[in-house]
Amino acid sequence: MRILVGVKRVLDYNVRARVNAEKTAVDLSNVKMSLNPFCEIAVEEAVRLKEAKKADEVVAVTIGPKKANETLRSALAMGADRGVHIMTDLRTDYMQLQPLAVAKLLQKVTEKEKADLVLVGKQGIDSDCGQVGPMLAGMLNCAQATYAAKIEPSGDGGLTVERETDSGTETIELTSFPAVVSCDLRLNEPRYANIKSIMMAKKKKVEVLKAEEMGVDLEPMTEVLEVYEPPPRKEGIKVASVDELVDKLRNEAAVIP
């Protein structure tokens, strides 16, 4: 089984996002970027499947500028066998390249690589869309399981996926491939790449493609009009009694009828 894993270069989760002066986007100049945490979980799962001999090869794919090769390298250091780097200077945080185009690009790679399973993070922590996984499955006309909290090989070469929903855990049996699975937080705890793997990752093969040359319409479907920070939290007040609390909830905050 060949697993294709999507890895995205995003603003590091520790960095406080700031909006640029023109209020058109998050200011990404000189800020620390890293591997999207949900993508990291996807890579870890793919590598574990390979270590359990359920998969033969793990291919990591990223879409981004030249520096996204560092993201690929992190995935390779965790155990992916080789990488595909789709080069583009378009912003991948939803401002320019959007989920539909991303899904189309990944469809091309899935078909080219003849991947049996595509693992992606449930969402990017910059765009928070959660759309690429399901869209890709639709385009490939294949089965999907999103928000996976557990993936286990089932006896007959398929996969049993437990997905987390608001009302409980849903179990899906994936029996036909290719299939797309998006990974949620509780799926696994990613490993720390050790120095040796980080160095060896440099030697692993990375194929570079150009997004503009892949025959996909990269135009955004939606236009972002404004990006602004949420209003700063106002100071709270102390109330003297439950009656006063109810009164304020009803008449000031208008959150109860």
Partner: protein, 425 residues
């Protein structure tokens, strides 16, 4: 061609004029340098892609795996086993050991970056990593026989902690006044070690000691010999750890050698050359200590700065008061100087250039800056800085040994002075 002349005068002869010109042109250019290209310009704080990745990976590991247990380890006065296995798994204990021995195959600068990043979170763990990498591993790599190397380097890279057993009750700065004796057997096939070492870091966790003993007191320091001794050899007794002011999680123990038999093959390098190996390896290890002190200073800022920007008094964040701004700007400047000195010393050593003076200078200065920063940090934090709620008080206690171990500050000053004198003779 004033500019050309400037290039030729500014850059060392080694750099061909055309390269120097290009580098100078770049630094004067108005167009921004692509960050990826920036790494190739000659600034000591521009690290290679590999070194940056290692630094970032170590920082993540330290923040995620080490930070949550730092206070607990300090209170318990010991390192938790998960920390040790984490260090080995990440390849941090064998930074310069070649890959064929299971090491990480990196350079000295990477080892110092690792020490700095770990010290920024826990200086006790950093000293363990520093001693392993810059003292034991390198001594065995430089002077060990092929047999010693193939036996110990894999262990040191993958699962065995080591200690540097030099100091004794009667010999600290005067290291070669040591009384530990190594008596050769009549046929010379083994040595019997008798003596007591004191202040040995990592002794509780160590599986291997790099031991210095004298095989012939008549020869004075020329009898000092280095031995690689298995910690579990019969006759090796590790005493209980000292109760220290700081670096409490790092074990510092007396170690007694009571008739310990050590095979002649375990001699590191040549008999009677131990004093030379000791001096040389400590000259380098010093830079690692500077990296640790640098990490401490930065760790203090990591605690203080967020607090300064959040804590409000008299209607404004205390970090915005000019008096405070002047203080942290001044100290940040000194920390930057230590950083530049540390990594410059690393690069000098890597390039094969003389570095002893610079290494002494940076160890001396780094320990001074760390102490100053740690002390001032507590003042900035006010009352809470004086409690165990924040790590500032721990850094204050931890940094003090910086001016003492691996060569006291007074000894560093002597070393520097002697080299200056010889420069002018």
């Amino acid at each position: 061609m004033v500019l050309m002349q400037y290039c030729l005068n500014t850059f060392p002869r080694k750099v061909p004029p055309r390269q120097a010109w290009r580098a100078l042109k770049r630094s004067f250019s108005l167009s921004p340098i692509d960050p990826q290209e920036r790494r190739n310009t000659p600034a000591v704080t521009n690290f290679s892609e590999d070194e940056s990745m290692i630094r970032d990976a170590t920082r993540s590991w330290a923040n995620e795996q080490l930070k949550p247990i730092v206070r607990d380890m300090d209170n318990a006065g010991e390192l938790f086993p998960d920390v040790l296995s984490g260090l080995f798994d990440c390849g941090l204990m064998g930074m310069e050991i070649p890959e064929e021995y299971g090491g990480s195959g990196m350079n000295f600068t990477s080892a110092c970056l690792v020490v700095e990043e770990i010290a920024r979170v826990d200086p006790s763990v950093a000293i363990l990593v520093d001693i392993q990498n810059t003292l034991t591993n390198n001594a065995i790599r430089f002077w060990g026989s092929p047999e010693l190397q193939s036996k110990y380097l894999p262990l040191l890279a993958q699962n065995t902690v080591s200690s540097f057993a030099l100091s004794e009750a009667g010999s600290g700065s005067d290291a070669f006044a040591m009384r530990t004796r190594a008596t050769p057997s009549p046929d010379g096939s083994y040595y019997t070690i008798e003596g007591s070492k004191l202040w040995i870091s990592n002794a509780k966790e160590a599986g291997v000691f790099l031991l210095f003993a004298n095989v012939d007191f008549e020869k004075g320091y020329k009898g000092v010999t280095a031995f690689v001794v298995d910690a579990h050899s019969e006759g090796v007794q590790v005493g209980p750890p000292e109760k220290k002011l700081g670096l409490r999680a790092s074990s510092t123990c007396p170690v007694t050698f009571d008739g310990v038999k050590v095979d002649a093959a375990q001699v590191l390098g040549e008999v009677g050359q131990g004093y030379k190996y000791c001096i040389n390896i400590l000259n380098e290890g010093r830079i690692g200590i500077a990296a640790q002190q640098l990490g401490i200073a930065k760790g203090c800022f990591d605690v203080a700065m967020p607090y300064l920007m959040e804590r409000k008094q008299f209607g404004s964040a205390i970090g915005d008061f000019q008096g405070m701004q002047h203080q942290y700007a001044q100290l940040a400047t000194e920390i930057h100087a230590v950083e530049v000195m540390t990594y410059n010393a690393c690069r000098l050593k890597e390039s094969g250039a003389p570095f002893v003076k610079e290494a002494s200078m940076v160890k001396l200065y780094a320990s001074q800056v760390a102490e100053k920063v740690a002390s001032r940090t507590i003042e900035w934090l006010g009352g809470i800085g004086f409690t165990q709620d924040l790590l500032a008080e721990k850094f204050y206690r931890d940094c003090k040994v910086g001016s003492i171990y691996e060569g006291t500050s007074n000894i560093q000053l002597q070393t520097i002075a002697k080299i200056i004198q010889s420069d002018y003779k």
